[in-house]
Symmetry: C2
Subunit: 406 residues, 2 copies
């Protein structure tokens, strides 16, 4: 269920391998006695009924899509692990009061349409038809077209988004189990990360356009090389990020495409996608502004044309105290060490926080590596995370144990 | 006969459109009473017989392949223009002494196999089976496989190369008509460039490999971003080239590919192809050495792995005095102004100079633009170039005019 061989994982939204992964998740939900529902965006839900079915649901989950050549834990842990948590609660005889649902979000990764967290944005009402329709995949197709082909979607993008949006009060809490994607838990030998906030991500695209020319015939003084403008901007991103002096500011030029891209041609175009994050929203915005100013100055200096657009610039999210306490207490009951920490990575939790009290549980991952084939969390750390999630869900649901608590 | 719409031209070796272009050239040769021959590499020859058929042939020609989104003059002028020159000589009643052949070279551009001037390298015996077999196209296939499919090639790469090599003395002179691909003729209002030397080209590839990671989770101090190493190297290329202080030194980072190439991933790999040229071979080699030294220093500083290879590093070529004089005299006879100049672009002439006295004729092109869709030379300049070529070929062939010279 990956477009690359194990351990590398590439799973692109609505690709054949993504559809196989979806089937696997639904089969696993069914085997564990969960009732399956899918929404118009392709978000998948598996429900463990509560004694008060009409109460707001306790929701948990993550995503299974993966960027090219990623690893097997990012996202997937929070889906498979949550199904196992519900299985464990059932085995232990736990009876939920609020219903508990485990879910798999559609397209947390931006690979296909250049938009992260499509499923959770739509659930939170944070996605407009204009924005979604402005995104095309590399085949020039819209989300709706592709969704309709695989059995999701609707008559229009508006219909699809309306049908996906979560009703007010329908979700009482949201919790996501995830690998840290940073080195701190492993470095400090801590079992469980109790997430208190999710960093504010921003993404922008900058295009430089020069006149190109022949790499032999075009003399240096006559050039306006768009590739070199791009190179300067990539280095400026790093400089502006380091200038904040805070380890919490990160910035990345993750795509850098030049055209025509021939060894004997001066680059005529350079297209950069830049990701800037911080737990401090205003400080993040200052870096975004500094990068855009540098882009203008570089374009001026190198006599190239420049255009830019903000792909997204979302506010940070604070985790809800009730969930932070529930996670910490659950870990404590299991004798696990904890650290309160910030998530610097982007998660569906960021958007779920707009519709419900939200929290996250982190487990250590090797060297903080993520989005690469050697991404790794140990079986012990995974078991710890699943146990903490199970107890947290039980606390939030407010149900009853057959005897004393686990 | 292009993979992109007019005026953009993309014509890749042995692609369906390249094969159509080959048919067009052969039809045109036939219409103009030239006898056609093709060699094992797909070089096409159209012969106007001389009164001494056994004498070394006066050869002229260029190429019709084109890099992605190039223009319609680079190369093609020297093929179609040469056929017209031979037609004009026949119309004028000129009778050659040495045979004159116009030719179209196979794959002057490096697009498909990453090797420029495949046809002329092979004719000059400057291509080994090892080198040619080390080159694969994007479909993972060798030159020989592709050549055999379209009716060229041979039983082995060695056979093909042996069959292509020009016998000693078989070519008495080689002349190539080409657009300048630089701005000097237009800027100075000169009609014809008489080329005295062809700059020494070198091409190298540098690969940086870091550890990648998640663009949010991987903190700045923990990164070794291969993309930023690449950005520094691209700027170092420019710096080293400018440091020679000579306008004749040019350097270009024409391809810059990063992987995984996702906005939320720290680049793990950056692959750069760098082109460095100079009319002064040793000075060019100093720049190549300085670039490789910078690559090592950048890799050390950024803690990324680095590997590099020289794709080619050919010596410059000097044009033969006999041809330089023949071109200048022909232009003079037509009342056209001339400038002696160096070709900074790579041509098949560079390799033909190894087997025969060689020269080139340049005509102005708009703003020096080349390898782009708006590449342009005027009808007047083209007619001037064809006339100078015709008279030059007549002088070199040593044949007879019906009455006084044209």
């Amino acid at each position: 269920m990956s477009d690359h061989e194990n351990p590398a994982v590439t799973r692109i939204l609505f690709s054949p391998n993504d559809m196989l992964a979806r089937k696997f998740v639904k089969d696993l939900m069914r085997e564990n006695h969960l009732t399956i529902r899918e929404d118009a965006m392709g978000n998948i839900f598996g429900r463990l009924e509560g004694s008060t079915p009409a109460a707001g649901v306790v929701l948990t989950g993550s995503h299974c899509d993966a960027i090219p050549l990623a690893g097997m834990y990012d996202g997937t842990l929070g889906v498979i692990g949550a199904i196992e948590a519900l299985a464990a609660l059932q085995r232990a005889g736990y009876k939920p009061l609020r219903p508990i649902e485990v879910m798999m979000f559609t397209s947390e990764e931006p690979t296909r349409f250049g938009l992260s967290c499509s499923g959770s944005r739509a659930m939170a009402g944070a996605l407009t038809p204009e924005v979604l329709e402005s995104k095309l995949d590399s085949g020039g197709r819209h989300f709706l077209q592709v969704a309709n082909e695989v059995g999701y979607g609707g008559a229009s993008t508006q219909d699809m988004l309306d049908a996906t949006r979560v009703a007010e009060g329908a979700v009482s809490h949201f919790v996501e189990l995830h690998i840290e994607q940073g080195p701190l838990l492993q470095r400090e030998g801590v079992d469980i990360g109790v997430v208190t906030a999710i960093a504010a991500p921003a993404a922008l695209e900058v295009l430089f356009v020069g006149d190109g020319g022949h790499a032999g015939g075009q003399l240096m003084p006559d050039r306006n090389d768009a590739g070199l403008a791009g190179a300067e901007l990539a280095l400026a991103v790093e400089r502006h990020v380091l200038a904040t002096g805070s380890v919490d500011t990160v910035g990345t030029t993750g795509t850098f495409e030049i055209a025509p891209g021939a060894i004997n041609s001066v680059p005529r175009e350079a297209r950069l996608a830049i990701d800037i994050r911080d737990i401090d929203g205003p400080r993040r915005d200052q870096v975004v502004a500094a990068v855009l100013k540098s882009a203008e100055e570089i374009a001026e200096k190198r006599n190239v044309r420049m255009s830019s657009r903000i792909i997204n610039q979302d506010p940070p999210a604070t985790c809800h105290a009730d969930i932070v306490e529930a996670v910490a207490a659950s870990a404590g009951a299991l004798g696990l060490s904890t650290k309160r920490m910030v998530s610097r990575a982007y998660h569906d939790s960021l958007f779920m926080a707009r519709v419900a009290p939200t929290g996250m549980i982190f487990i250590p991952c090797k060297n903080g590596w993520s989005h690469r084939p050697d991404e790794f969390s140990s079986a012990t750390d995974i078991a710890n995370g699943v146990s903490v999630l199970a107890l947290t869900l039980a606390r939030l649901s407010g149900g009853s144990w057959p005897k004393a608590e686990l």
